[in-house]
Structure formats: structure tokens, C-alpha cells
């Protein structure tokens, strides 16, 4: 019974923790500019994320190593330093963007300029990690994140044509702005398949002490949780398509994106949008901060874990605190949170083949997964994904310049 409860909690918190700055902004832009045509991109990106998360969870559950640790051990530091450096860079930028996202949300609620909220938001993120333990952080943030279901409610109440929505799940070539369409497709994948999510997920499996009999929990949480979570992202896209699409604009600020709730929630629109954005970004900020600590500690072999007494994991605590501080400084410098999100999303796509390739080796190494190796379908999908990742990495920078 307890396991079923934990499973349900895991699925619910995955839904609550799914959307954040990257997914909200890319889905809102996609919906506004191309109607439902990019729904397929969210679906494909979610399948990729769920597949990789399940594998990362399997390596953590069976091999007792997080992704960062497994890659260092199997591939050596020469290989690892590139994805590690990139992941830290992405963590820093995305964390600054998420903190900015929360600050914009508080600004929408209070009317006080978002720069004033960056420092307090950073402090609250740190306090939650400092005073919390893993389940409090994971479940608390995830349950609060259920407010983001407002996007699904909005999409539902707008009564989009079921046929038009269904057509969005079939990849199509748009009649206009092909470069922009390609850019948003790649951005949606980059925003969804974030490396921090994979390492955070595998570290969570170790924090929660999953063992081999728990592999079904891993499978269900990754596929169901992320599958349901993606419905929230799709809700953002559909709502933006119906409400903002006819306005012929490009969403280049969260204030603009907030308008998508007006026809459904009336005078509560801005409040609800701000709560959804704020809670989504706050949850991601906590996870990214922790992940930065995880990645550094696991790569260098320090004691880590948010459930451990702080004094027993001093370097881990110092690492996540430093990363959070640097991100707060970046956010304070006044870069636009939405721009920073898109840069970190592009960077994610650039390193994607280096993130995916190790799965192909690790999932076939008994030292890491024992008899739970990847089958021929899994290996085929991983190989295809590595090639797709390499192709996307090649085109993302030109697309960012010409379509971003």
C-alpha cells in the first residue's frame, strides 16, 4: 500500500514539476505562432525524456550510480568534462532564468519591479534546500506545482476543435516562417529534455534508496509522470494558440503570455498565471540548484545528499550554494529571463548527443545495469536519438540566429 501511495505521489509530483520557464516559454511561443502544429514536438520530446529518465533511473537503481558518476567512471574525465561543463553552464543560465521567472511572477502579483525579487527568491530557494529533506523538497514542490494544471483547465474550457488538436500531433510543414518553426521545434525538445532533469531523477532514485524490486516504480513514474506532465505543456500551447494566436504577435515577455488566461479566468487570469509561472519556475530552481550540487559532488566523489546532515556533506552544500549565488548574480545583472531561457535551451541541444551517447554504452554494460540491459528496440531508439541529437546540435545555432 505504501508503495502504491509513493508511486501515486511520484506521478503527481512529476506532473506538478513538469513545467518551468523553458517549457512555458517555448510552448507559449509555439502555440501563438503556429497554432496546434507543434503539439507533436512536445509529444516526441516527452517520449525522449521519459525514455532517458527511465534508463537513468534504472542505472541508479541497479548500478547505484547517478548519471554523472556513471559517465565519469565509464568514459573517464576527458569525455565527462565536456557534458559536465555544459551542464553546469546550462544549470547556471537556466537557474538564473527560473529565478527571473519567479521574480516576474511576483511582480505580476505585486506590481513591484522583478529585479527587487531576485535576491529574496534566491534566498527562499536556498532556505528550502537547507532546511528541507529530499521528500519534502520533491513532494512539496510537486504538489504545489499542481496549480499549473490551470493551463490544462484553460485549454479545456476554450473548447479547441478536437480535429484541429489531433492534427497537431502529426508533424507537418507550415506554410510560413519555416526557419522559425524549425527553431521552435528544436527549442521545445531542448526545453523538455534538459540534462538537469536526467541527473536529478537518477540522484533522486539514489536518495530514495530504490532497489531492483522498485524498477516498476521507476518505469511507471518516468512514463506516467512525464506523460501526464506533458499534458500541462500541451495545455500552455493550446491556450496560447486559441487566445494569443489570432492576435498575430510573438510572445517575448511573460507579461504578454499572461494574457492567455484572460478569456477563461477573467479577473483571476493574471493571478493564476503568475501562480503557475511562479510555482513552476520555483520548483525548477530548487531542482536545478540541487542538481548542480549533485553533479559536482558525484563527479568529484564527494559525500552528497540532501537527506544527509549538512555537516557531513560540506562540499556538496558549498557547491550548490555557490552555483545558486552565481545564478542570482547573473539574474541581478538584468538579462531578460526569457532570453536566458532560450540560450540555455539552445545550449542543451548543442550537447544533446554527448548526453545521449553514454546511455547507449551504459545500458549495455552489466557493471551498471546487471541483467536489466537495454533490448534491441531500446538500443535502436538510443542510436537514432544520438543521430537526431547530433543533427539538431548542428542546426540549432544557425536556427537561433535566423529563427530565434
Amino acid at each position: 500500500m505504501k508503495k502504491i501511495f509513493n508511486l501515486l505521489l511520484g506521478v503527481v509530483t512529476s506532473i506538478g514539476g513538469f513545467v518551468e520557464a523553458g517549457s512555458i516559454s517555448t510552448a507559449a511561443q509555439g502555440g501563438t505562432e503556429f497554432g496546434f502544429a507543434l503539439l507533436w514536438a512536445i509529444a516526441v520530446a516527452t517520449i525522449i525524456l521519459a525514455m532517458l529518465a527511465e534508463m537513468a533511473g534504472r542505472i541508479a537503481t541497479v548500478g547505484k550510480r547517478s548519471m554523472a558518476a556513471a559517465v565519469r567512471e565509464r568514459f573517464g574525465f576527458h569525455y565527462q568534462m565536456i557534458p559536465l561543463g555544459a551542464e553546469l553552464m546550462i544549470d547556471l543560465l537556466l537557474l538564473a532564468a527560473e529565478i527571473g521567472g519567479v521574480a516576474v511572477a511576483v511582480k505580476l502579483l505585486t506590481g513591484v519591479g522583478f529585479q527587487w525579487w531576485i535576491l529574496p527568491v534566491g534566498l527562499v530557494v536556498w532556505l528550502v534546500i537547507w532546511l528541507g529533506n529530499f521528500s519534502v523538497i520533491e513532494d512539496g514542490v510537486g504538489l504545489l506545482g499542481m496549480v499549473t494544471v490551470a493551463f490544462v483547465v484553460a485549454a479545456w474550457r476554450l473548447h479547441p476543435g478536437p480535429k484541429a488538436v489531433a492534427a497537431g500531433f502529426v508533424p507537418s510543414v507550415p506554410g510560413h516562417d519555416l526557419t522559425r518553426y524549425a527553431f521552435l521545434t528544436v527549442s521545445i525538445v531542448g526545453a523538455t529534455v534538459s540534462p538537469y532533469l536526467l541527473n536529478f531523477y537518477s540522484s533522486g532514485a539514489i536518495e530514495e534508496k530504490w532497489t531492483e524490486p522498485d524498477l516498476w516504480i521507476n518505469r511507471t513514474t518516468s512514463y506516467l509522470g512525464m506523460g501526464f506532465g506533458s499534458i500541462v505543456s500541451m495545455g500552455v500551447l493550446v491556450t496560447a494558440a486559441v487566445v494569443l494566436g489570432p492576435l498575430q504577435l510573438r510572445v517575448d515577455s511573460y507579461e504578454q503570455a499572461a494574457l492567455m488566461f484572460v478569456p477563461v479566468f477573467g479577473r483571476w487570469a493574471v493571478t493564476l498565471f503568475a501562480c503557475s509561472l511562479g510555482v513552476g519556475c520555483f520548483g525548477a530552481a530548487v531542482e536545478i540548484t540541487l542538481n548542480a550540487g549533485y553533479v559536482l559532488a558525484q563527479s568529484f566523489g564527494w559525500t552528497w545528499g540532501v537527506d544527509k546532515p549538512r555537516r557531513d556533506a560540506a562540499r556538496f552544500c558549498a557547491a550548490f550554494t555557490t552555483v545558486l549565488l552565481v545564478s542570482v548574480v547573473i539574474a541581478l545583472l538584468g538579462f531578460d529571463p526569457l532570453q536566458m531561457t532560450l540560450i540555455s535551451v539552445a545550449l542543451t541541444v548543442v550537447v544533446m548527443p554527448l548526453i545521449v551517447l553514454p546511455f547507449l554504452v551504459l545500458m549495455n554494460d552489466e557493471q551498471f545495469v546487471k541483467q536489466h540491459k537495454s533490448g534491441s528496440i531500446g538500443n535502436g531508439l538510443l542510436a537514432a536519438l544520438t543521430i537526431l541529437g547530433a543533427l539538431m546540435a548542428l542546426v540549432v545555432i544557425p536556427l537561433e540566429i535566423f529563427g530565434g
Binding site: 565519469r72 574525465f77 537547507w130 568529484f300 559525500t303 549538512r310 555537516r311 562540499r315
Partner: protein, 118 residues
């Protein structure tokens, strides 16, 4: 034993199972007309830096001096102290003896001053 596959970059634990870091480098004793001998396992960010590039290594070593641990880094543990090579590399010394804990200990003193540290 394949030294690069089985030892390098592996987690290293002390006699009591406490984490010491990772095997960041391996020292070989190379003498003329003799087979190379495994001399020591090395722990420390500067050892990693030297693996990437000597300039990076020297720069990281400078940072280690900056935070007051330069004298003892990188930490060398004689290969004769390697007790077991498996999922982790176990050595027959304690983390305190090796000096691998200096930075952790110093940071701990800071952390204990912060309210709410458990």
C-alpha cells in the same frame, strides 16, 4: 586488471568505507629496462587538471593554494595501500590520515555556524 578501466576515475573509499574522492590520476614508476610499476593513486582536482593540460593543472593547483590546501594536493596513496579494486577502490588508510578531508573539514566549520545546519 585494466588500470584505466578498473581503477582510474573510480570512487575511492577509506578503510572505514568513508568517501575520499575519485582516483583522479595514477602514478607509474618507470625505470629503464624494467616493466612500469604502479606507484600510487592520486586524488585532487589539480591531478585532473594535469590530465587535461599542464597549464590547466598548474592553474587548478594555484586555486588549491588559494583555498589553503595546495601543500597537500594532489594526495598520493601508495599502490601498496590499495586493498580492493571492485565497484569502488578501497584503500587501507583513513581519510583523516590521507589529508583528503582537509577542505571538507574547513567548510564544515563554516557550515556549523549557519543556523539550521543539521
Amino acid at each position: 586488471m585494466d588500470v584505466v578501466h578498473d581503477v582510474l576515475d573510480k570512487h575511492i573509499t577509506d578503510r572505514n568505507g568513508r568517501e575520499m574522492g575519485r582516483v583522479d590520476g595514477i602514478l607509474l614508476d618507470v625505470r629503464p629496462n624494467e616493466a612500469p610499476r604502479l606507484a600510487a593513486v592520486v586524488i585532487g582536482a589539480s591531478a585532473l587538471g594535469f590530465r587535461v593540460n599542464p597549464i590547466v593543472g598548474r592553474w587548478v593547483h594555484g586555486v588549491e593554494y588559494g583555498v589553503g590546501i595546495g601543500e597537500e594536493r594532489p594526495i598520493r596513496i601508495d599502490f601498496s595501500h590499495v586493498a580492493e579494486v571492485g565497484e569502488k577502490v578501497k584503500v587501507d588508510v583513513t581519510v583523516a590520515e590521507s589529508g583528503a578531508e582537509t577542505l571538507e573539514r574547513r567548510l564544515r566549520e563554516w557550515i556549523l555556524k549557519i543556523p539550521g545546519s543539521r
